[in-house]
């Protein structure tokens, strides 16, 4: 091994991005490019009585205007691709443009295509729509009520699905020595990738082929779905996602506008571009979280946890987004027991339609919600017993000698050393000293608090057999092709579709490490369905554990074949030939002796094919379609320390300490960057972010002026560290790192704030913990105290 695996290599994708030479979808320019704009419903729930587009059509720059009725025979509905089993799921039709009814503010009503972007926007104002406004419902619990407005006629009580798992019974809680319950609310969040979504489509009528540039986390899934929606054979569609400016789950779904752009290009015979405005992004790109969670734990007086159950009412929005139903069910439910030895667990989930933007995956997707309620209720359990929350955790953490560990909900945790992680974090935090300081400051009327999370998460999605069993309408394996060129340079084609996570670098490190060649000799190609056989994309922290291992296997297949050729060149048997640092040599002879041949020399022979061993074909390429046998389970311990301003309720983050374990680390710099970003997003949920609708379904937090995105000065410097417990079930020993920060940080921050507020008798507060909420809680607390 060359040492490149595990080292801080500068990113290969950066040169183009820091010089302004990236190719994001909106950067694509084509001759005769037309621009689309979409008229969106200003009402959350209304009947469309009449749409008059005649004035818009008179605009000299307008090429076409489409309404729902115009296209209903031409574009199929947008499907849902995750159907949780035994959940009686109602997949109501979701048309690309609303036909007779709009169901949320932002629902598409008409699309204008013009030869100029500004003209397209102007023409939207020339369309008149007559609506009959209906009562709307935005809260999922209210939506289940008998009198609630009905979003879809075919979903009674607005229930989209009902899913359950686990075996914990009422008696387990009723008869437990200690029983703690609480309702937690996961507020709605807006992913806000900095790049708004965009689509560009170009259709060649003579060949019948459609090329689309898309802001996609999974171009092959997009191709598959668009093929069905547009009625175009899959091999005639090419999807390109070259540079994608962040996704965080919001670029997984196949969106109505994407289908419309493809359709318009086919219909009009000119290339068409549509790019979302930020205001539009707030309204129509999928939102995240939004769950009402009733949680109970049972335990013993000594602090042992025995059972947990969660009742989850999840707000799915107006339609079921592509992966939406999988989030509050499978991705949330199965990880509810977390890092603790719960003997029993039960999860009961309702997915509910409302007149709001559809929800889908948002960084962590289900796992942050599960971790939040677990880590919060463990703190409440500790409070109930008068025990230190760290002690309760230590007592219940699964032991390092218990892996593989089988959970109450049927998962098999692969490996872990949770105690080591906790100890390392505690050492960084200086926990006892903090507790002393806390006491001293309290007597001076100052309130500091500490909160922690000891999490395990499920990622590296995932074994395809399991994917099928849990209703995901696809596989979750990954493909890789390693093409070695005659000069020994390598092009890798991966089905994963990174969009900022840095795999152009880490994947090159995997190849460089195994082949003993410089990473500059390796190019990683992703995001192009014509060049890459098949793939399932980037989400669920799967790129490295699944795509990375697919790559490692493909590289090893290259080495396998090259070894045959090398043996032939060295006039030795295959078994005698060893490979290290890019050199094939005969066992017993170290590199540097005459009995050796370089990788490049072997590659050249593979292509010249003048003298190949019998039965060996020319060329050198490795392929793999890797299906993991299990998920991977990263874990770690995060601590947050805060001070609450007694006068204003403002929260200052004093320190943030994160110890994460994602198995073997390929590039510590990139892994640390993933943790930083995750923490910032998780703290964003805890303290600032939250989408709010009024009763009529208007989004009140629809711009960056109202929706508080974290800024640089909101944070202290994060202190991060890693432990490395190799993943035992994959070749590279790696787990995912993209979501750990988001999963761990939200409860750590809230636990810290509630800890600081302990003198005020505050048990819980709903996120985000805005200054006013905290201040009001202190006012109440000091009155009752």
């Amino acid at each position: 091994m060359s040492g490149v695996f595990g080292s801080k290599v500068k990113r290969k994708e950066d040169p183009r991005l820091i010089t302004g030479q990236g190719t994001y979808t909106d950067d694509v320019k084509l001759p005769n490019l037309a621009h689309a704009a979409i008229l969106r419903s200003p009402y959350a729930h209304a009947v469309i009585k009449r749409v008059d587009v005649s004035k818009a059509l008179e605009h000299p720059s307008v090429l076409a205007v489409f309404t729902g009725k115009d296209i209903v025979q031409k574009i199929g509905p947008i499907p849902t691709a995750w159907l949780p089993p035994d959940s009686d799921i109602k997949t109501t039709a979701h048309y690309a443009l609303a036909i007779d009814k709009v169901r949320y503010v932002g629902d598409g009503v008409a699309m204008v295509v013009a030869d100029d972007l500004y003209a397209a926007k102007d023409a939207l104002e020339l369309i008149t729509v007559e609506y009959e406004v209906l009562p709307a419902v935005v809260n999922q619990e209210a939506a289940m009520g008998k009198m609630a407005p009905v979003v879809h006629e075919d979903a009674p009580n607005n229930v989209a699905f009902h899913w359950q798992a686990g075996d914990a019974t009422d008696e387990m809680f009723a008869n437990a020595p200690v029983h703690v319950s609480h309702r937690f609310v996961q507020q709605r969040l807006i992913p806000n990738a900095m790049e708004p979504r965009s689509s560009v489509a170009q259709y060649n009528a003579s060949t019948g082929s459609l090329t689309m540039w898309l802001t996609s986390q999974n171009p092959h899934i997009h191709r598959l779905l668009l093929s069905g929606i547009l009625g175009l054979p899959e091999h005639h569609i090419r999807i390109l996602a070259i540079d994608v400016g962040g996704g965080f789950g919001s670029k997984i779904a196949c969106y109505p506008d994407e289908a419309l752009v493809g359709f318009a290009a086919m219909e009009l015979g000119v290339p068409v571009k549509w790019t979302e405005e930020r205001r539009e992004n707030f309204l129509v790109t999928t939102h995240g979280r939004d769950m009402i969670l009733d949680v109970e734990v049972a335990g013993e007086a000594d602090g042992t946890l025995t059972a947990i159950r969660v009742h989850n009412i999840a707000n799915m929005g107006a339609y079921l987004s592509t992966a939406g139903p999988g989030v509050p069910t499978i991705l949330f439910g199965l990880i509810v027991p977390g890092a603790y030895r719960f003997a029993h667990a039960k999860v009961d989930v309702y997915g509910v339609f409302t007149n709001t933007t559809p929800t889908d995956a948002y960084r962590g997707a289900g796992r942050p919600e599960a971790t939040y309620v677990l880590e919060r209720i463990v703190d409440l359990f500790a409070l109930e017993l008068g025990m230190d929350p760290v002690e309760v955790r230590r007592k219940n953490l699964i032991g390092a000698d218990e892996f593989p560990y089988h959970t109450a909900l049927g998962l098999e945790y692969d490996s872990g050393n949770y105690q080591q992680s906790l100890d390392k974090a505690l050492g960084m935090v200086k926990y006892e000293e903090f507790r002393q300081e806390q006491e001293e400051l309290r007597s001076q009327g100052r309130y500091i608090g500490i909160g922690c999370t000891t999490y395990v998460e499920i990622c590296g999605l995932g074994p395809s057999q399991v994917a099928g069993a849990v209703g995901f309408q696809g596989g979750l394996w990954e493909s890789s092709t390693v093409r070695v060129h005659p000069t020994g340079k390598v092009t890798v084609f991966t089905g994963a579709s990174p969009h900022g996570q840095g795999e152009e670098t880490t994947f090159a490190q995997i190849v460089g490490d195994r082949l003993g060649i410089p990473i500059d000799d390796v190019e990683i190609v992703h995001g192009d369905t014509d060049r890459i056989a098949m793939g399932w994309g980037t989400y669920g922290s799967r790129t490295t554990p699944v795509g990375g291992n697919a790559l490692a296997i493909a590289v090893d297949r290259v080495i396998e074949k090259a070894r045959k050729i090398a043996a032939h060149m060295l006039e030795a048997s295959e078994a005698e030939v060893e490979f290290q640092n890019g050199i094939f040599y005969i066992s017993g002879h170290e590199s540097g002796t005459v009995r050796q041949v370089t990788f490049q020399e072997v590659v050249l022979q593979a292509y010249l094919a003048w003298n190949l061993p019998a039965g060996v074909e020319p060329g050198l390429e490795g392929h793999s379609f890797y299906d993991p046998v299990n998920f991977v389970y990263p874990f770690g311990s995060h601590f947050c320390m805060v001070e609450v301003d007694r006068e204003t309720g403002e929260i200052a983050i004093l320190r943030y300490v994160a110890v994460d374990d994602c198995g073997r680390v390929i590039n510590p710099m990139i892994a640390e960057g993933q943790v930083h970003g995750g923490i910032a997003q998780g703290i964003g949920q805890a303290l600032w972010e939250g989408a709010v609708y009024d009763d009529r379904g208007q989004l009140l937090t629809g711009t960056f002026m109202d929706y508080a995105m974290p800024k640089a000065h909101f944070f202290p410097e994060f202190e991060t560290a890693f432990t490395e417990t190799p993943a035992p079930q994959n070749l590279l020993g790696v787990k995912g790192i993209g979501e750990t920060g988001t999963i761990a940080s939200t409860p750590a921050v809230v636990n810290a704030v509630i800890d600081a507020l302990r003198p005020f008798g505050v048990r819980d507060l709903d996120m985000p913990l805005t200054p006013e909420k905290v201040w009001q809680a202190m006012q109440k607390g000091s009155v009752s105290a």
Binding site: L117, E277, E647, T648, L700, T701, A708, E772, W775, Q776
Partner: protein, 286 residues
């Protein structure tokens, strides 16, 4: 997010700008930095027929001291104000306030004239304008007029500016040498605008407060002078206790706004806390 179409004119003098405004028949607007106007136009909350660019008008970028007043040209950007040596020497509170407006990019472009004429109720400058007894210099077809800051801000985005007029400069009173002025702001986490912003100037002579101005922005529809706070402290010794007592009256002279981020009750409380904060810092009792 593209403005509606408009005609564009460049004015090279105040007179020309006013003429162009008049010619637009009330449908024209002046643009300098454009950082108040363009965001509104992009949202199509306003769609002027004509934009008259006054960035090229000469003579509106000076900072001058005349007697006990300092005058700032309307076209100076927030960054130019916060870094201007004369402002920093004579009116550090103005430099401090300018440094808290928006962000680095906004301060490089937004102008004091545009900001005040726009009269956003959560803007920072109106507080300091009130606290420094600012006079806003306005030129119209009728000639030149001066508006006291307290008569200028009438409501959210509403000012006393007459039709076809132009704000050309602002003169601020330079408070007596023994005073100190500060600006304290509780910023909205999303927009950076003031949820509550307090400009305070205070001076003590022979153990008693003999000069005080407290003005608050962001709390309601219009910025206001906290006269109750001022009157309570005037003539009294300056101690944490007297400050604390007076600060309790901070919301008395205003009408508190109530929104998603902060209720009226909480805003009133913030007014008190931030008046106290500002007065303590201005008094160097921190």
């Amino acid at each position: 997010m593209i403005p509606s179409a408009f005609a564009y004119e460049r004015a090279s003098s105040i007179r020309e700008a006013i003429e162009l405004l008049r010619a637009s028949g009330g449908e024209g607007k002046l643009i300098a930095g454009g950082h108040s106007l363009l965001p509104m136009m992009k949202l199509r909350l306003t769609s002027p027929d004509t934009l008259i660019d006054i960035a090229g008008v000469e003579g509106l970028r000076a900072v001058r001291v005349t007697g006990d007043r300092l005058t700032v040209g309307a076209l100076l950007t927030h960054d130019q104000i916060m870094t201007n040596p004369l402002v920093r020497e004579k009116l550090p509170i103005l430099a401090e306030t300018a440094s808290q407006i928006g962000d680095l990019q906004v301060r490089n472009r937004g102008t004091i004239g545009g900001n005040l004429a726009h009269a956003d109720p959560a803007s920072d400058l109106p507080a300091v304008a009130l606290a420094l007894d600012a006079n806003l210099q306005v030129v119209s077809v009728e000639g030149s007029e001066t508006y006291a800051a307290e008569d200028f801000f009438l409501g959210p985005l509403i000012t006393a500016l007459p039709e076809n007029s132009m704000l050309t400069g602002v003169s601020f009173a330079i408070p007596p040498a023994h005073t100190r002025g500060v600006y304290e702001k509780f910023a909205h986490p999303a927009s950076g605008y003031a949820v509550v912003g307090v400009a305070a100037v205070i001076g003590v002579n022979q153990g008693q407060v003999n000069y005080i101005r407290v003005a608050i922005t962001g709390a309601g529809d219009v910025p206001y002078r906290a006269h109750d706070v001022e009157n309570t402290l005037l003539g009294r010794p300056l101690t944490p206790a007297t400050i604390s007592d007076a600060a309790k009256l901070a919301a008395e002279d205003g009408v508190m706004a109530d929104d998603l981020f902060a209720s009226a009750q909480y805003r009133a409380h913030l007014c008190s806390v931030y008046v106290k904060k500002a007065l303590l810092r201005a008094s160097r009792i921190e």
